[in-house]
């Protein structure tokens, strides 16, 4: 279980997180929604230690993220970045097998390549993609490679940062289905941040809405439409009128 307790983070006078409390149960898919600039990415990056919170605690299965041994802690995670964040200088298969070619999980090169090709196949990419460079791929293909990299070491926890941003509706649907299938198949705990409501309904077991630096509402995805929270209601229906100011 991932637990965020009173997590706070400010950048100068911009108080992004003002006491975030959130629990993500083991094996469940939690989607965090909220407007642009509300701190969704900061919350996610705080768990991984990419951003250091100013206050509060983050634990993963009772282990404090701030004091855990970094390599062992991070080995439990996989992450799909918004833009893919593929390493330009490495061919696709070495991107996917990056973790399997160095450090504690190091395998022989041939074995790492075989695993990479199998993971590429799992996300719907043909083996001939393996030797191409990331710059030679379309945005959708890069997202799939990023997804393959996130699952290559079969992590217990997978984070997805805006997985469908910049993709056409069909490719977004493909990515959403893949995420759902992989999370269910691997039994992984998933945390996704997005403002794409189609993704939310496709991926989520539970939803949390971040607004004004705190969790405004959280609950099962099935309860989202009938929650009666005016902030959530305005957000999921994309209305300009409501308690959330359109100009931020």
């Amino acid at each position: 279980m991932i637990t965020l307790s009173q997590v706070k983070k400010s950048f100068g006078n911009n108080h992004v997180l003002q006491g975030v409390d959130l629990e993500i149960a083991r094996g469940k898919s939690m989607v965090i929604i909220g407007g642009s600039g509300t701190g969704k990415s900061v919350a996610l990056k705080s768990v991984l230690g990419l951003v250091t919170p100013d206050g509060g605690t983050i634990t993963v299965d009772g282990q404090d993220a701030a004091t855990a041994e970094r390599d062992a802690f991070l080995a439990r995670f996989g992450m799909l970045f918004q833009g893919g964040a593929l390493f330009d200088s490495l061919p696709v298969w070495q991107n996917v097998a990056f973790r399997l070619m160095r450090g504690a999980l190091k395998r022989p090169k041939e074995e790492a390549r075989e695993i990479a090709i199998e993971k590429l196949r799992r996300v719907g990419l043909k083996p001939d993609v393996a030797d191409r460079l990331p710059a030679e791929l379309s945005g959708g293909m890069q997202k799939r490679v990023g997804l393959a990299r996130a699952i290559a070491a079969e992590p217990e926890i997978i984070f997805f940062d805006e997985p469908t941003t910049g993709l056409d509706p069909i490719m977004s649907g493909v990515i959403n289905d893949l995420i759902r299938e992989i999370v269910v198949e691997m039994g992984a705990t998933a945390m996704t941040i997005t403002h794409d409501m189609t993704s939310v309904r496709a991926i989520a077991d539970n939803v949390a809405m971040l607004h004004d630096g705190v969790i405004q509402w959280t609950g099962p995805v099935a309860d989202m439409d009938s929650a009666g929270d005016p902030y959530l209601d305005q957000f999921i229906h994309g209305r300009a009128d409501g308690p959330i100011e359109a100009v931020r």
């Binding site: 991984l48 970094r70 991070l74 970045f81 918004q82 964040a85 593929l86 990056f98």
Partner: protein, 261 residues
């Protein structure tokens, strides 16, 4: 009163900012040194960095050295002619290239070519979240990106300086024997008789320091770049400025040290 004080306040603030930047760079340098001895060591990355810093810099270093050596021979000949000292061209070209111009020009060319390239590459990696991706893949960016590049600078730039010294002397030789009427064998004998081992040592030592500065500045500014294309541009510009100034400052200090030995 404030009219007179505000320029002083601005000067003071700029000085404090410079000290703070030097402090941050020093901390980064010590952190790099600490990570050199940590495992894993990324040998493949070191190989790629050696190729980029060393091998691919050879043409620019060679061309800079040959033209500088040639121009130096012409200047010394013209200057020496004012007091009938034209014969010192081989000696002055040798000592000028080896002790001063070789290391400084190679250092500055490396700052222009390698520092900018490293800063732009790492800054782009930061902007596109590739640095964050490295961390999530249990790979320390300092060990994977900084250590191999700085070691490549430390290893390759002295070699480049040595090559630059030889090519610079060759440039002077070609001009002197081709257009100034010097005898070929006399020129070479005068050159090698005049140079001392400590001249060569000081040249290579300067190369090692300048190579470390150039690559370290590229990594530091890349890692600390701002967001977007403007952030990458500012990091690249800042890295070259800092590397060039630090190389010239280090050259002054090192020259003083070797002078006193």
């Amino acid at each position: 009163m404030s009219f007179f004080l505000s320029p002083l306040a601005a000067l003071g603030a700029a000085f404090l900012n410079m000290l703070a930047a030097l402090g941050r760079i020093s901390i980064y340098a010590f952190s790099t040194l600490r990570h050199v001895f940590k495992r894993p060591f990324y040998l493949r990355e070191l190989g790629i960095a050696i190729l980029n810093v060393g091998w691919l810099s050879l043409p620019v270093v060679g061309l800079t050295a040959v033209f500088t050596g040639g121009a130096l021979a012409l200047q010394i000949y013209a200057g020496g002619a004012r007091f009938n000292a034209e014969a010192v061209v081989p000696q002055i070209v040798a000592i000028g290239m080896v002790r001063e111009l070789g290391p400084v020009l190679v250092g500055l060319m490396i700052a222009a070519r390698v520092t900018s390239s490293i800063a732009a590459e790492i800054a782009t990696m930061k902007v596109t979240e590739q640095i964050d991706a490295l961390v999530t893949l249990s790979t320390h960016p300092m060990q994977y990106l900084t250590v191999p590049r700085v070691l490549a600078g430390l290893i390759c730039v002295p070699v480049l300086v040595g090559i630059g010294d030889v090519i610079g002397i060759l440039g002077g030789y070609l001009v002197a024997t081709g257009t100034l009427g010097f005898n070929s064998s006399t020129y070479l004998i005068n050159t090698f008789d005049f140079l001392e081992p400590r001249d060569v040592f000081s040249s290579l030592a300067k190369g090692a320091v300048f190579g470390t500065i150039a690559t370290l500045m590229g990594c530091y500014y890349g890692m600390n770049s701002g967001r977007g294309a403007q952030g990458v541009g500012a990091a690249t510009k800042g890295s070259v400025e800092a590397a060039a100034i630090l190389i010239l400052a280090a050259n002054f200090v090192l020259t003083g040290v070797f002078f006193s030995l």
